[in-house]
């Protein structure tokens, strides 16, 4: 039997049922806009407007007292490419390349370390699995600056690491292991390891082991079993881990500042210098944008290579 349809009383148009709620499309649409509003305000106020300000600032000029003079020019960008008062110098280019290199090596070592670690944790019995995971995460709850100072102490001449390094003839007597490139890598890798381990762990925990068995059943050796049965399944977690490491590592300034000193300047330090000691906001803005472009470029390459791989 079909009931005679009742005419809608509302002037809002056709009724729809939305998860049991009787409403109209236009009402739903308006409600959706309200729900979006906080996020839109947030992004506008804290990302779009400051970003545009940064772009404008990068074409301005530093005044004598660190103030900003709105004389539009490309001076900051030519400085970024190495052209200064004394002609061309490769310094800034070096800093940029070094930042990419450090971020790359940090990410690579983190992945190499995180892979066995994620498998180790994911294959523990359920009882102890989250305890192991907590051991990875707890250092991450400690403030980064404090952790970095802790590394300063650990790498200082009084501590065994430096003594061992001296015994091996790597550093002179009473020398410290920092500031050095080595110290920067130690600091960076320990800081970013949890960012790779956690997403990778969640992939490994959900691993479909029957694919590993299928690969074995189909005559694969160990290497082929890994690359066909395991590796593709860990790609989603690995991708998240790589992005969460590579991007912040490119802009990191606390660790190179405290553990690398003047010996190992990265682009993050360069930006920080402009906004603090040098008070050269326009140049700082130009360097920031340069870093942002490099990062986006890196992501674009990664996306193209990992076609079909979801980024989140």
């Amino acid at each position: 039997m079909q009931a005679t349809p009742q005419k809608p009383v509302s002037s809002l148009g056709k009724f729809v049922v939305w998860f049991g709620e009787l409403t109209t499309p236009s009402r739903l649409y308006r409600r959706g806009l309200w729900f979006l509003l906080p996020a839109v305000v947030w992004i506008l106020a804290l990302l779009v407007i400051p970003g545009l300000a940064l772009v404008a600032l990068s074409f301005a000029e530093r005044g004598q007292y660190g103030n900003v003079l709105w004389h539009w020019n490309l001076e900051n960008y030519s400085r970024l490419l190495g052209y200064g008062i004394f002609g061309w110098s490769p310094d800034t280019i070096f800093i940029l390349l070094r930042s990419i290199w450090v971020a790359f090596v940090t990410t690579l070592i983190c992945v190499v370390l995180a892979y066995p670690l994620a498998f180790f944790i994911a294959t523990r019995p359920a009882r102890t699995r989250y305890l192991w995971l907590a051991l990875v995460i707890i250092p991450f709850w400690t403030n980064l600056v404090i952790r970095t100072y802790a590394w300063q102490m650990l790498l200082s001449p009084e501590f065994p690491f430096a003594k061992v390094a001296h015994a091996l003839g790597i550093i002179p007597a009473d020398g410290a292991l920092y500031p050095s490139a080595f110290a920067v890598y130690i600091g960076m890798i320990t800081a970013f390891l949890p960012f790779v381990v956690m997403p990778l762990f969640s992939s490994v925990e959900r691993l479909d082991w029957s694919l590993v068995e299928a690969a074995q059943d189909l005559y694969s050796n160990r290497v082929r079993t890994f690359f066909q049965g395991i590796w593709p399944q860990t790609l989603p977690g690995l991708t998240v881990g790589i992005i969460l490491t590579f991007i912040p590592a490119m802009g990191m300034f606390v660790i190179p500042d405290l553990l690398g000193g003047a010996k190992y300047l990265l682009v993050g330090n360069l930006i920080q210098q402009q906004f603090y000691s040098s008070r050269d906001y326009p140049y700082g803005a130009a360097v920031s944008l340069g870093l942002m472009i490099l990062t986006l470029f890196g992501l674009a390459i990664y996306r193209r290579r990992g076609q079909g791989v979801e980024l989140v």
């Binding site: 029957s210 068995e213 074995q216 059943d217 189909l218």
Partner: protein
Amino acid sequence: MTAVAETKPASGTLSVENIVKRFGEATALGGVSLEIRAGEFFTLLGPSGCGKTTLLRIIAGLELADEGRIVLLGKDLSGLPANQRPVNTVFQSYALFPHLSVYENIAFGLRSRRMDKAEVERRVKYGLEILQLEKFASRLPHQLSGGQKQRVALARALVNEPQVLLLDEPMSALDAKLRAEVQIQLRRLQQQLGLTFILVTHDQDEAMAVSDRIALMRVGHLEQSGTPDEVYERPRTRFSAEFLGAANLLQGKRAPGGLETRFGKFALNKTPGWDEGSVAIRPERVRLSEAEPRQNGIRVKVREAVYRGAYQEAWLDPCDLRIRTAPHPTLHVGQELWAELPAESLVVLEE
């Protein structure tokens, strides 16, 4: 057995010799021995937890037995890892590689063995053809339906030309109608290729539909094995009788020439080896009549009657007898009549 089985040499058998498998405290398999002939469609049937899948995985090399041997063509497989055994598995979840196309999935085992390109292509083409997958060669697994995935899994295993194909509940994810179709296809494929198939299932209808022989398993032991009709018509134990189809059990004492029960005396064709025990009869073997039969009759009253279209099913008082009979004439509740339990249909069960 089938013609295929007879043409194969006797050395083509797979022997499961006294396999024991324990998981911690629990014993999954308590010494199972089987002889599977070449070219045979053999089914391991049993309820969940009976150890049938564990046994299959031991044959595949995906699990290690604590005791016993697996011997194929006279060669002990026990020390061989899974990737060196001449057997292939169709997994319950199909376990297709999600990042590889149908073509590449089927080619997987061939590429593992570094077969030359032309041979890989020839075999994959053959696999695509016999399972009607040509149209889907370039698709990824997630673009396939359940039935198509299952065919890919089957093709992926078959192109390796294994000595034995192992199938771990391959039809459990398919809906009932498709399952019945696939059962027939699977049986036809096995006959056509003359390969040895070992199927694991908990579905007794499926087991009877496809198998040359069935091994019924129960908590780590082999309960009974034989051809489907042997196992169905001559169940050895109460478990066999009740697991394969429906059965009426009649308890009583041994008496001269038959069985003494609460409902009277019944003639048997075989003298029981016990003093007190049970006999079984299939619902469709019970005969109904208006007149009292010559022997083995019970006066019954219809308690419940269910019309099923192709047949009707009824429960009769006073002995809780379940019967299955032609749909007409229709039985109705309360109707009184005679039920005959023919001596040749009463199966004496072991204690």
